[in-house]
């Protein structure tokens, strides 16, 4: 497939769109952003550069499990997210590089989550491998969201999508 040249604002628009889907709990649409072999990863806080096939991650979703994660979060029995928490994803410091494989984008993020009277903050940075689409826009081949926290405390869990 011919790879067109992409610009940073184009990637930023895409990432802002993704953040908006997540904050509005339009998770089915979020899952559709991924390619059929897409993956979503969160490394452990003490091994941020780890390899999910060798190290114990927090999240190691292939496309199937990512879809199931979304299905789960739509249910009332996904207790940690019922009722849905309120979240706000801030995405900044976007940088891109492009080669024959596609586009790599990096960004910083902060996600605020509020539920049961408790407010939690998830700071981190993400690395995306994106596949530019013919008519514009992208599909996500890989999203690796690294939390920039020493331990997952006091947040305790990542029941939302970062």
């Amino acid at each position: 497939m011919s790879v067109r040249t992409v610009t940073r604002p184009e990637v930023e628009d895409f990432l802002f769109h993704e953040a908006d889907l997540l904050d509005n709990w339009r998770l089915e649409e979020w899952a559709l952003l991924f390619t059929d072999d897409g993956e979503y990863l969160i490394p452990p806080t003490d091994t941020p550069d780890g390899d999910p096939r060798r190290d114990l991650f927090l999240v190691y979703d292939d496309r199937h499990r990512l879809g199931e994660r979304v299905r789960r979060l739509g249910k009332k029995t996904a207790h940690a997210e019922f009722p849905h928490s309120r979240t706000r994803h801030l995405v900044t410091n976007v940088r891109i590089s492009q080669d024959a494989e596609g586009v790599q984008a990096t960004c910083n993020f902060v996600v605020y989550r509020s539920k049961n009277g408790v407010n939690d903050v998830y700071p981190g940075h993400s690395v995306y491998r994106l596949l530019p689409q013919e008519g514009g826009g992208f599909r996500i081949r890989s999203k690796r969201a690294t939390l920039d926290v020493d331990t997952l405390r006091p947040q305790g869990k990542v029941s939302i999508i970062l």
Binding site: I42, P43, P44, T45, D46, T47, G50, P52, R53, R54, D55, L56, F57, L58, V59, Y60, D62, R65, E68, R69, R71, R72, K75, T77, A78, H79, A80, E81, N116, V118, T151, L152, R153, P154, Q155, G156, K157, V158, S159
Partner: protein, 435 residues
């Protein structure tokens, strides 16, 4: 009843065997005095899991972490001997080790530069002429070892009470279950902690996690979405939660217990029970693991390990869950309503890359703060803790399930004997009985 006259010894636990009624007062989850008593009479006297030998396999290797409220260094010195030190400088107290793992021949205090060898000896003090030779005559300024530490089948425990009974005695019948957790894998090459720690927490009382970790009664409700997920992937799964139940609970003595079953559960086991969706190659490889283990440890035991599930509770704060993966989980309260957790994956050394990858995927489909189940457990714990704010109005938790049959042949897995075993020990230790 006010704070002062709350007597946990005679009051917090109702244990009426004749009537089949077991209750725990909700103040046990919120009370500051009880929290202090727990520190002194449980955590300062019981054997507490600290590390696994695989984390300090090589001479010079160390890890540092908090264990039951103390910063510790666990290391292997250049001669291969294991040590567990308090991570505090004997001069004026600073941590001498600031990295969570690595290799070191010395630990040098960042404050004034005292330096300790890997066997704890104080080997250097800047400007030594100013010190009297008496100052470290008997080695009292060497890095201090914890009062007791010992290893059992690769699990390293510490005890802050020098008079503690031997670890093997403390573990009672739980010891054989820890041994089972050390016998996984085809090669018999021992076990290792997989790199990557799940460090998390919950805004709840620590005892709620001990209760929850082997609660066979909550799976269908708390983990409904996980069961849906397995059903969607594998087709129909067994209906496990019939009135008759499946699997059993054993009281292992000294507050320890296990809930266990053979076959029966709907998930796959990396050692070694394949799911249809894993395909024929994986299935064949797992059957070979089973055969190799049968040859090594006997068929009956290999069958029990490979095809069964175990939720092992070691009093007070170690959980070894051998289910969709093998986990080591330990936790410690910072306040009556907040505890911290460290959890790891334990795996056979030399496991094939394909099985290791499958193990990690399988671990994460259920377990951990990003899994499909653990966050819902945490939510339940936190909902309970919120509920206990009303402990003056609604005083008791009911833990009576299966009490009339708890001394029978095989108390059911989804009964609550494991919790009663914990609470009886808790009550006795808080009352000052010997460990």
């Amino acid at each position: 009843m006010n704070q002062q006259d709350f007597d946990p010894i005679g009051w917090a636990v109702v244990d009426d065997k004749a009537r089949g009624v077991f209750r725990v007062h909700r103040r046990a989850f919120v009370d500051q005095n009880i929290f202090e008593l727990e520190r002194n009479r449980i955590f300062n006297r019981c054997w507490i899991y600290a590390a696994h030998v695989s984390e300090v396999a090589e001479p010079g290797q160390f890890i540092s972490r908090d264990v039951a409220g103390r910063a510790l260094i666990v290391n292997r010195d250049r001669d291969g001997r294991l040590h567990v030190f308090f991570n505090t400088c004997t001069h004026r107290g600073a941590l001498v080790c600031r990295e969570s793992r690595g290799k070191a021949r010395n630990f040098s205090c960042p404050y004034h530069g005292w330096t300790f060898a890997d066997d704890g000896r104080l080997v250097h003090q800047p400007i030594p002429a100013s010190y009297s030779p008496e100052c470290n005559r008997d080695g009292e300024l060497n890095l201090r070892e914890v009062p007791r530490f010992d290893e059992f089948c690769g699990f390293i425990f510490v005890n802050y009470d020098a008079e503690a009974i031997a670890l093997a005695d403390y573990l009672a019948d739980a010891g054989d279950y820890l041994r089972m957790a050390s016998q996984h894998g085809a090669g018999g090459a021992g076990m290792e902690i997989v790199n990557g720690t799940q460090t998390y927490c919950a805004r709840a009382n620590w005892k709620l996690l001990q209760e929850n970790s082997a609660d066979g009664y909550h799976a269908d409700t708390t983990h409904a979405t996980y069961m849906d997920y397995i059903r969607a992937r594998e087709g129909a799964v067994l209906n496990l939660y019939s009135d008759k139940g499946f699997g059993r609970v054993r009281n292992l003595g000294r507050g320890h217990s296990v809930s266990e079953s053979i076959w029966g559960t709907p998930w796959g086991r990396p050692c070694a029970r394949a799911m249809p969706s894993w395909g024929d190659d994986i299935k064949a490889e797992m059957e070979a693991v089973f055969e190799a283990m049968s040859a090594r440890i006997g068929r009956e035991r290999a069958d029990f390990i490979c095809h069964g599930d175990r939720n092992l509770l070691i009093f007070p704060n170690l959980v070894v869950n051998d289910v969709c993966a093998l986990t080591v989980r330990t936790f410690y309260p910072k306040a009556p309503d907040y505890f911290e957790v460290n959890a790891w994956a334990l795996a056979p050394r030399g496991e094939s890359q394909r099985l290791r990858d499958l193990r990690l995927r399988n671990y994460l489909e259920f377990l951990g703060p990003g899994g499909f189940a653990t966050p819902d457990d945490q939510e339940m714990l936190e909902l309970c803790q919120k509920g206990y704010q009303a402990h003056a109005g609604v005083e008791w938790n009911d833990i009576s399930r299966g009490m009339l049959s708890e001394d029978g042949e095989a108390p059911a897995k989804q009964d609550e004997l494991q919790m009663r075993t914990f609470w009886r020990r808790w009550r006795d230790l808080l009352a000052g009985q010997p460990v």
